[in-house]
């Protein structure tokens, strides 16, 4: 199984400020995808952002952006202008190539608190 590591169990940010969540992964594969998912108190998993390993350009979705460092196997999530609704557990995920079975592996998560 691929290893996905989130070294920050908890993070906090002031409302309207910026926060960065860290994620590293271990792989020898080249054709993979990386994801950030959000799990609010409702426990429903919500896709935040997706990055293809072959694309050097960092993905951006409104206030959410990533810093993808392929050589370092690092995939951090930046949340700008943090809002109260951003409070949730955030999971980094690695999707294996299709020819291997398309497994998704998740990190242990980072609990984000947004302070008003």
């Amino acid at each position: 199984a691929q290893t996905v590591t989130q070294s920050q169990p908890e993070m906090s940010v002031q409302e309207a400020e910026t926060v960065t969540l860290s994620c590293t992964y271990d792989t020898s594969e080249s054709d993979y995808y990386l994801f950030w998912y959000k799990q609010p108190p409702s426990r429903q998993m919500i896709l935040v952002i997706r990055q293809e390993a072959y694309k050097q350009q960092n993905a951006t979705e409104n206030r959410f952006s990533v810093n993808f460092q392929k050589a370092a196997k690092s995939f951090s999530l930046k949340i700008s202008d943090s809002q109260l609704g951003d409070a949730a557990m955030y999971f980094c995920a690695y999707r294996r190539p299709a020819y291997t079975g398309n497994q998704f592996y998740f990190g242990t998560g980072t609990s984000l608190t947004v302070i008003p």
Binding site: R43, M45, R95, G101, N102, Q103
Partner: protein, 113 residues
């Protein structure tokens, strides 16, 4: 549009009892199907995944089994539950295209007492 149904939402079972959790997907065909477990305060652990009817791959040895009797139906089972089987179980599906995301069900909170 595609939807995923998972039930029940909550389940309390005694140790040693059997388990059957069901998940169905609508609006798509030939999906990849997955079962995850989320223990309290921990991440999502991949338990099983399936790329087709009757094709099940297990990620970790455990007290659970999975079956896919129909294209869009995925079942998680146990003959005898253990205390350590308690947790939040999530069913998910993805398409087969490159980079397709994972769609999750609403989850089942299982408490084994």
């Amino acid at each position: 549009s595609q939807t995923i149904h998972q039930w029940p939402a909550t389940l309390v079972q005694p140790v040693g009892s059997p388990l059957s959790l069901e998940c169905t997907v609508e609006g798509t065909s030939n999906p990849n199907l997955y079962w995850y477990r989320q223990a309290a305060g921990r991440g999502l652990q991949l338990l099983f995944y399936s790329v087709g009817i009757g094709q099940i791959s297990s990620e970790v040895p455990q007290n659970l089994s999975a079956s896919r009797p129909q294209d869009r139906q995925f079942i998680l089972s146990s003959k005898k539950l253990l205390l350590s089987d308690s947790g939040f179980y999530l069913c998910a599906w993805s398409g087969r295209g490159r980079g397709e995301k994972l769609f999750f069900g609403s989850g089942t909170q299982l408490s084994v007492l």
